[in-house]
């Protein structure tokens, strides 16, 4: 009986406590630094698309919400012809980001994606591409990779030695 009175008193004292609520649209909750929110496709420092259309993100996605079609441009760079993420399925697990070999796909700390129409949650490539290098500034896949593209032959990549001519006897 006394414990009831005591708990009533303690709850009455909560009147003078600070309220825990965040008044959401005006006041936003602080997000952790590694918050996994909206998925974006980032760009190279020189503005090219980082995505090389390797399908690893689509393979890693546990809910199969990513679909893309890789293609190649005249300079030999691979890029996605279309890249589509269905955010009504996406569970923001971040596996795509982990799978991505070129740091192209990244999860941003943005969660305000609500829509009235479900179809609007299907983001196309132009909705996903952002004009930023995301979490890895200065990274340019084609500058590092040994793949030959137009304007950069084998052995010309960063820290890459020129290829050895295996048919030559000259040391």
């Amino acid at each position: 009986m006394l414990s009831l009175v005591r708990s009533m008193w303690l709850i009455f004292l909560h009147m003078f406590h600070k309220r825990e609520t965040f008044q959401y649209p005006e006041q936003k909750a602080p997000l952790p630094a590694r918050w996994r929110g909206r998925i974006a496709l980032t760009r190279d420092p020189d503005g090219g698309e980082r995505c090389v259309g390797c399908y690893l993100c689509a393979a890693a996605c546990p809910v199969d919400c990513i679909s893309l079609q890789a293609t190649e441009d005249e300079s030999g760079r691979r890029y996605p012809e279309f890249f589509r993420i269905n955010f009504s399925r996406c569970i923001f697990c971040g596996f795509c980001e982990e799978a991505c070999p070129t740091y192209a796909i990244q999860l941003l700390p943005d969660y305000e994606m609500a829509e009235y129409n479900r179809q609007n949650l299907v983001y196309e490539k132009e909705d996903l591409l952002i004009n930023s290098e995301g979490k890895y500034p200065g990274y340019n896949y084609y500058n590092i990779a040994g793949l030959a593209i137009k304007g950069k032959d084998k052995g010309e990549a960063q820290d890459e030695e020129p290829p050895v001519d295996v048919k030559s006897l000259i040391p």
């Binding site: 009533m8 709850i11 009147m15 406590h17 825990e20 609520t21």
Partner: protein, 316 residues
């Protein structure tokens, strides 16, 4: 005669608005005690949430289940509002401001508040739903058993004031409020009053976590709204009765008019009801009955006997 109609109109207006306003008050107070804000968007401090709720209730589909007993099903929600409003007939808000100054006012109140149980029983029975029936059964036994010592607890006040007339009971508290000589009676009446309005912690006829919504599981739209309004009117009624019987009714220092004193005191008790809801767990059904019959019932009898004995001893 015109004065009489003004009082009826005023009382009805004040009560229905209080009952509606309590929806907002309760949600805000519960939120305050749980470190939240509660409804604060619609209108100043969110008061217009009442309007939104009312409009919503009116426009909800008023569904009568095909398996229900239609006549009784429609009739039941009206009973609770009617019986509680009838109880207010004898409530003295200030000297002269009372709808009917009955000389058996207290008995009338007990009779009318007992009628409220019909609403629970009929509503639960007519719903033809096992959860509703369980809720109604619990409600019936709870209200009937708590009714017994509710009346007995009030008899202490009657013994002290020598009258069933509520205005005379208030007048008898000019020297000292009955809370002091009748403290145990007050506690018993408070507990019984909470059970009578089946508010938390004694909301076992509803018991959301066990019985869906108890006796009004099948109700929707304004019929559910009637149960809702009836509950809030019941809180106001019990708070008003506590004030009238134990806290000197309209009596208070003269710098405020009597009606204001009555309203302030009643409001304090409404807050207490909401605090009960915020802080107490719901007892098990058998615990409730055991507590009622084995503790409160003997205690109220004892209280009545001791009060009467002291009264007799003082008089001789």
């Amino acid at each position: 005669m015109t004065n009489f109609w003004w009082i009826i109109g005023g009382v009805l207006f004040a009560l229905l608005n209080t009952a509606a306003g309590l929806i907002w008050v309760e949600r805000r107070m519960l939120a305050l005690w749980q470190d939240r804000y509660g409804p604060n968007r619609a209108g100043p401090f969110g008061v217009l949430v009442v309007l939104a709720d009312t409009i919503k209730l009116f426009f909800k589909e008023d569904w009568i289940p095909p398996f229900a007993d239609k006549v009784v099903f429609v009739f039941a929600p009206g009973v609770v509002v009617f019986s509680v409003l009838m109880s207010f007939v004898v409530m003295p808000f200030a000297p002269g401001i009372v709808v009917a100054d009955l000389n058996i006012g207290l008995l009338f109140f007990l009779a009318m508040s007992s009628l409220g149980v019909y609403s629970v029983v009929l509503g639960g029975w007519a719903s033809n739903n096992k959860y509703a029936l369980l809720g109604a059964m619990r409600g019936a036994s709870q209200m009937i058993s708590y009714e017994v010592f509710m009346g007995l607890a009030l008899m202490g006040v009657v013994v002290l004031s020598g009258s069933f007339n509520l205005q005379e009971i208030v007048e008898a508290q000019k020297k000292v409020w009955f809370i002091i000589p009748q403290f145990i009676g007050f506690l018993i009446f408070l507990v019984a009053g909470v059970a009578e309005t089946h508010r938390l912690p004694f909301d076992i006829p509803e018991a959301e976590s066990e019985l869906v919504a108890g006796f009004h599981s099948e109700y929707s739209g304004m019929k559910f709204g009637m149960f809702f309004i009836g509950e809030y009117l019941g809180i106001t009624l019990i708070s008003g009765m506590l004030v009238t019987l134990y806290f000197g009714g309209w009596l208070g220092p003269a710098f405020l008019p009597p009606v204001i004193w009555f309203i302030i005191k009643t409001f304090a008790f409404i807050m207490l009801f909401i605090l009960f809801r915020a802080s107490m767990p719901r007892p098990r059904y058998d615990q409730l009955m055991e507590y009622g019959w084995k503790v409160l019932f003997p205690l109220s009898l004892l209280n009545l006997m001791i009060t009467a004995a002291i009264k007799l001893w003082l008089n001789t």
